[in-house]
């Protein structure tokens, strides 16, 4: 009996229900938001698709930064690899089926993830950050140099994906692209929720806090992070391929330091270490940017800067992080 009680307290019966429940709730909210987006902003689906594509990049970044504590300003390398691979498959190899392009993107993203992982794990802290910057610049230069393959700085144009499943054209309104993106995002989100809650996810969080401790438990820090990098690469690859399919052009910006830095800003804005933070960060940043840059295309940067400052001052753990900490505290107070 005592043993049973123990077990319950540890596993936390109510906690278990709450966890699973909050996951379902989270996915439900994402679905609801996606549907609302479709009907509320039917004229803005291109923007929404772009947001989804970037959100996948930010999610992927969250996996290594938020869950494993790897500082990186070069994550666009993974995203761009996915985008260029999908684009080149279509332009040079005639692989124009969107799902096949997606698969190529995922493979390329994973490969780029593994490569970045191998290099980035050679150092910690600032030097690690510098390694990641070096990687993204190398990728960028390589794509610039190989212009016969990539179109160089003019961009890889003329990507013409077939209709999705042979039925749905990628149209001017981006309806197909949007729905395609939403489905991809949901699949990725559900898979990642499972991954981060699994023992593997717990191991990663441990590594983030104290790798030495993890080694003293007999677990391999590098091996674990490499796995996470591979997953992260696949997710970024999805984002990149989605970008290539929906915009039908791939530019060097998708491999740039700027995009990497922006992704990091969005992640921190939303809150690291929780997938929802990544989503909320991306959506709020890009949406805010879209509004203010349309309102004042000349000086909107100042307003975005002010927003970032305000977030640090009033929501230091990011929008989602701070909100969820606040809710947690309220719950605790009530108990």
């Amino acid at each position: 009996m005592a043993a049973l009680m123990n077990e319950n307290a540890i596993a936390g019966k109510p906690a278990r229900v709450r966890l699973a429940g909050s996951d379902l709730l989270g996915v439900a909210i994402v679905i609801a938001a996606a549907i609302a987006g479709y009907f509320l902003f039917p004229n803005n689906l291109a923007l929404l698709t772009r947001i989804i594509s970037i959100a996948l990049l930010v999610l992927s970044l969250d996996l290594v930064t938020g869950y494993c504590g790897v500082a990186t300003l070069g994550h666009a390398a993974l995203y761009g690899a996915g985008a260029y691979a999908a684009g080149m498959a279509a332009v040079h190899f005639g692989i124009t089926d969107p799902l096949a392009m997606m698969a190529v993107g995922i493979l390329a993203g994973t490969a780029a993830g593994l490569l970045s992982g191998v290099i980035v794990l050679r150092a910690h802290g600032l030097p690690q950050l510098v390694l990641s910057i070096a990687i993204v610049h190398l990728f960028h230069e390589a794509a610039n140099k190989a212009s016969s393959w990539t179109g160089g700085s003019d961009g890889l144009a003329s990507i013409a994906p077939d209709p999705l499943l042979g039925l749905f054209e990628f149209d001017l309104w981006s309806r197909t692209a949007y729905v395609f993106g939403v489905v991809l995002l949901l699949v990725v989100l559900i898979v990642l929720r499972l991954v981060v809650r699994s023992p593997f996810g717990m191991l990663c969080r441990g590594i983030k806090e104290d790798p030495i401790r993890i080694r003293a438990m007999g677990a391999s820090v590098h091996g674990t992070i490499m796995r996470m990098y591979a997953i992260s690469g696949a997710v970024a690859g999805v984002g990149g391929a989605l970008n290539a399919i929906s915009t039908q052009v791939v530019g060097l910006d998708s491999l740039s330091f700027t995009l990497s830095a922006e992704a990091l800003v969005m992640l921190v804005l939303g809150g690291t270490g929780s997938l929802y933070g990544a989503l909320i960060g991306t959506v709020s940043f890009l949406w805010f940017e879209d509004i203010v840059s349309a309102a004042n295309p000349f000086h909107w940067l100042t307003i975005v800067g002010a927003l970032l400052i305000l977030v640090v001052l009033f929501a230091p753990r990011g929008l989602y992080g701070t909100a969820s900490a606040f809710l947690e505290r309220r719950q605790e107070a009530r108990r």
């Binding site: 004229n43 923007l47 772009r50 230069e141 610039n144 915009t247 910006d253």
Partner: protein, 370 residues
């Protein structure tokens, strides 16, 4: 009715100056010609793409077409941003008037693209002849390693070799180069009599021109040829004396002597606020607006991309840069290219003095690509 025109360009970030010039050109045109065409009122909607970003550009174009209902898309400082939008034009029934993006191939991507700026091939070809005329046999080409740089290099190489000279060496430097001393040393060591250079305007140009002077290349008599981006008017105050005597070929100088240009400069200066910031994208925008007004006239305010584009094929007019015409074949602008020299005026300001005219230049780039 209100006819909406969507302008996509870099209005913030590192290229904000160019976007500002777009706006100045547009404002100047509308100040001079009113904001109505017939019964229709023209409304401009600006969207910002701070640095080349085709995905963003496409999303914005889509938003402009679908949500804002624009009938014309224009602006486009960077080639990839324009390229990304071309697939939308047919479906959206929207013509695109490019005010800057200078890679030759864009006009081939859609029949609804018209360009009122220039191409690097167009501006870099005549300077080869100039160099030959100055008795230069051996030139070293130095360009920034990106699309326009590569175009400039190819155009110059083709023309210079055709004119009987040799390009002893051609190097492409990364865009991020800050320190040009080693490049200058390279140029010296190459034994060339002159250097042909292309860099985007802004800090790198300044660094390059300064390095050219400070490393003694000017003293050593190595001549300097470039397309006009290098001596863009907005950079001249910063370049100062170091730029004196540099020879460039370009389609437009703010100092171009014509009544049309005087009126344009006056209106555009007022629009931009600080006249020192005025340079070539403004004239591309000014003429772009001219084309759009003609299109509106021809279609009577109706949305009909084919009719609009057809109406301006072969359209000729007197632009602030001189006489121009939209080539009916390529829909690219045919214009004069001027040889200019940086000079100092009496009031101490610097300007591009036009000293020779190459008339009615088309775009050799398209031909070269085929």
């Amino acid at each position: 009715d209100t006819i909406k025109v969507g302008v996509i360009g870099p209005f913030s970030g590192p290229f904000a100056l160019q976007g500002k010039n777009f706006k100045a050109g547009i404002d100047a045109y509308m100040a001079m010609h009113g904001d109505t065409v017939g019964d229709d009122k023209v409304e401009i909607i600006y969207r910002d793409v701070p640095a080349p970003d085709p995905a963003q550009s496409k999303a914005l174009a889509q938003e402009l077409i679908i949500k804002e209902g624009v009938q014309y898309l224009t602006g486009f400082y960077f080639t990839p941003d324009a390229m990304a939008v071309t697939p939308l034009l047919t479906q959206g029934n929207v013509p695109m008037v490019i005010m800057n993006a200078a890679t030759s191939a864009i006009v081939t991507k859609s029949p609804f693209v018209v360009r009122t700026s220039f191409t690097l091939w167009q501006t870099s070809t005549p300077i080869a002849q100039v160099a030959r005329d100055k008795g230069v046999d051996k030139v070293m080409s130095v360009v920034s390693d990106y699309g326009p740089g590569v175009d400039a290099e190819n155009a110059f190489k083709a023309a210079f070799t055709a004119a009987g000279g040799t390009v002893v060496e051609a190097i492409r430097m990364p865009l991020s180069t800050n320190d040009f001393s080693p490049i200058m040393q390279r140029i010296r060591d190459s034994g060339a009599q002159a250097v042909f250079a292309f860099l985007p305007s802004g800090p790198t140009t300044l660094g390059f021109v300064k390095a050219y002077n400070q490393n003694g290349l000017k003293e050593a008599g190595i001549q300097f040829f470039a397309p006009g981006d290098l001596t863009q008017e907005s950079d001249l105050p910063a370049l100062g004396d170091t730029a004196l005597g540099i020879l460039t070929t370009f389609h437009y100088s703010v100092a171009h002597d014509s009544p049309e240009n005087k009126a344009f400069v006056e209106a555009a200066s007022r629009a931009i606020g600080n006249p020192a910031e005025l340079s070539f994208p403004a004239v591309g925008a000014f003429d772009g607006m001219h084309v759009i007004y003609k299109m509106i006239e021809a279609t009577d305010g109706e949305q009909d991309a084919q009719k609009a584009v057809d109406a301006v094929k072969g359209l000729a007019w007197e632009s602030p840069r001189g006489p121009v015409e939209i080539d009916p074949e390529s829909r690219h602008i045919t214009e004069n290219i001027y040889l200019r020299e940086v000079a100092k005026s009496d009031d101490g300001t610097y300007y591009n003095k036009e000293i020779q005219t190459f008339e009615k230049q088309g775009d050799p780039g398209l031909a070269a690509a085929n």
